[in-house]
């Protein structure tokens, strides 16, 4: 999600501006949000982070007026929305919440088609849109359209939640801890998917998270908030990591900020190596000499659609006549858009000291090795000296 894409492609996002927004809850001395002002450019992803109780969620909910601000102005493309009818306003702003927040008595299709329905879209158009979005978030519409939320896993519910937030093609999407309720592996996958969706749609996204790594990974800019929603720093992740504004920010991003750079670097930006490959069903007698001739001891197995299926040692392969089709799911595959820190995670479970890298439609691109990554880290450290 780098900013150059914004200029290349006319984004569908809108500009969002908060001017001196204040919210004070009854019975509390200090305001929850005390005069927050910021601008989010069209097509930009801004992450709100900060310690719990810093007012980040309150700030987010004031944008779609689930919480009414006491004073201040909120402008979308220059138009003050604090005077609009809140119900209508919310239909024009996407909203994604933790766990998906799906309505339990409605099917997946009805959940995703909720906002188009409220906007009185025609039935066919809504149905088409629902299928398109389910496809986009990686759920087969034919399989999942008629299911109920309780029949889905946490990660799948969250995917439907994202699809629902995007359904009516809103220029601005608000996300409230969208991936807080799923396991780390699913979270990483959902983040990758969101990034590739955003690459295509260029929405204006405001996302609340408590996870600084998530903020660094997803954000074009990060807003670090202190108590009362006072801005500690509002900058690009690289800038925040390189020069934190004060001790609060430095503490918040934590030590080892050089290591956090791993969350900024994509696998595809590093050199991949290309060990020998073979196809499922190929005779082993042909594969083994070829691999040995290349001086290697293991081989990457691809299926008929070029997707990596396994990474086998020759001695394992030698027990078969033809290359077998493995049954279990792979852990050692990373997307080329994954961060280096995700790739290191995947390598921990690999016995080959590397991870297989895939591109569009899960096609095999090559292998990223542990040595490449450590060499890169050492390079970073030298740079710092």
């Amino acid at each position: 999600m780098n900013q150059t894409a914004t200029t290349e492609q006319a984004g569908t996002g809108a500009q969002l501006e908060l001017v001196d927004v204040v919210k004070q809850y009854a019975g509390q001395k200090a305001p929850a949000v005390g005069g927050l002002s910021l601008t989010v450019e069209p097509g930009e992803t801004v992450m709100f982070v900060g310690p719990s109780g810093c007012g980040k969620t309150t700030s987010l909910k004031m944008i779609n007026r689930l919480i009414e601000p006491d004073s201040g102005r909120i402008l979308i493309d220059g138009e003050d929305i604090t005077a609009h009818d809140p119900t209508r306003l919310r239909r024009s702003i996407g909203y994604v919440i933790q766990g998906g927040g799906l309505l339990p008595h409605m099917t997946v299709a009805d959940n995703v088609g909720l906002v188009p329905g409220l906007l009185h879209w025609e039935r066919d158009r809504t149905a088409e849109r629902v299928d398109e979005l389910l496809d986009m978030v990686g759920l087969d519409p034919h399989v999942y359209r008629d299911r109920f939320p309780k029949e889905l896993s946490g990660g799948q519910q969250q995917r439907v939640g994202v699809a629902r937030g995007l359904a009516a093609d809103p220029p601005i999407v608000l996300m409230d801890e969208p991936f807080g309720a799923v396991d780390p592996i699913t979270r990483q996958r959902l983040q990758d998917e969101l990034m590739s969706i955003q690459e295509e749609l260029r929405k204006t996204i405001v996302c609340v998270t408590h996870d600084i790594d998530e903020a660094i990974k997803l954000g074009d800019r990060i807003l670090i908030l202190q108590e009362g929603a006072h801005i500690a720093q509002y900058d690009a992740p690289e800038t925040i990591l390189a020069s934190p504004a004060d001790d609060f920010v430095a503490d918040f991003i934590g030590s080892g900020s050089k290591l956090k750079q791993l969350t900024l670097q994509r696998v595809g930006e590093l050199g991949l190596s290309h060990p020998q490959t073979c196809r499922v069903g190929e005779p082993v007698a042909e594969v083994v000499p070829r691999v040995e001739a290349a001086g290697e001891r293991s081989v990457v197995v691809l299926d008929e659609r070029d997707r990596p299926r396994e990474w086998l040692f020759l001695r394992t392969l030698a027990q078969h006549r033809t290359v077998p089709a493995p049954g279990h799911a792979l852990q050692t595959v990373v997307d080329h858009r994954s961060t280096l820190s995700d790739a290191l995670d995947a390598m921990l479970v690999s016995s080959h000291g590397g991870a297989m890298v895939t591109g569009a439609r899960d096609r095999y691109l090559g292998v990223i090795s542990y040595d490449t990554v450590t060499a890169h880290i050492q390079g970073l450290q030298k740079e710092a000296l």
Binding site: Y95, H105, L114
Partner: protein, 249 residues
Amino acid sequence: MRRLSTLSREDKLLIQGLPAFVVLVLAAWVIWRLTADLGDVEARLLTWSNILELTWQHLQIVLICTVLVLALAVPCGVLLTRSRAAFLSPLVTGIANAGQAAPVIGVIVLLALVLGFGLWTAVLALTLYAFLPVLANTVAGLRGVDRGTVEAARGMGMSPTQVLMRVELPVAMPVIMAGARTALVLLVGAAAFATFIDAGGLGLLVQTGIIMFRYSILVSGAILVALLALLVEWAGRVMELLLRPRGLV
């Protein structure tokens, strides 16, 4: 019925077993009625047409009251869960509690002294009596709807009315229906008192049996009221099953 497979074993037993039991007992009573050597009074009261007439009257009272209770208690429950009307809560729940706590026979007779005898006085007293379970369950059902679900619905741009009609009420439906079923069964039993103020129903058999020391009439009345209650309970369960939104456990 695909929904049947989602039920627990006890519920399945009740749904399939109750009608069988009712048919069995009813058949036994019919055989007794056909074969017993009845006295003059019994023969006159227990004619088939008279039994049907009384059962129909009984059902009428129950149905009118049920419609009234649902039409009044559900909106009341909705109102009490809106933050703007929350202050009314103690008053309404107080009245509803009193309505159920007061002995129904006393309420019927006292109301009759004020308003006169007849069907509508009985309906008023019984409606008060069955009000609480529906009100309490509506409130409990609506309060039980996950706050996150409601906020998600608002965040999508549903108006307050749409949130109520399309999210809160459907999700609370199973709990509300359980209250309605309780109210129905209470009503079948309590409607037997309607006869004291000349509003008819199967209670007439019980009352006549007691006054004239004819136990066969008394027992016949009691059996028929009990069977009707079981049948209504069964109908309530079937309704619950059919009205439960799919997707809810």
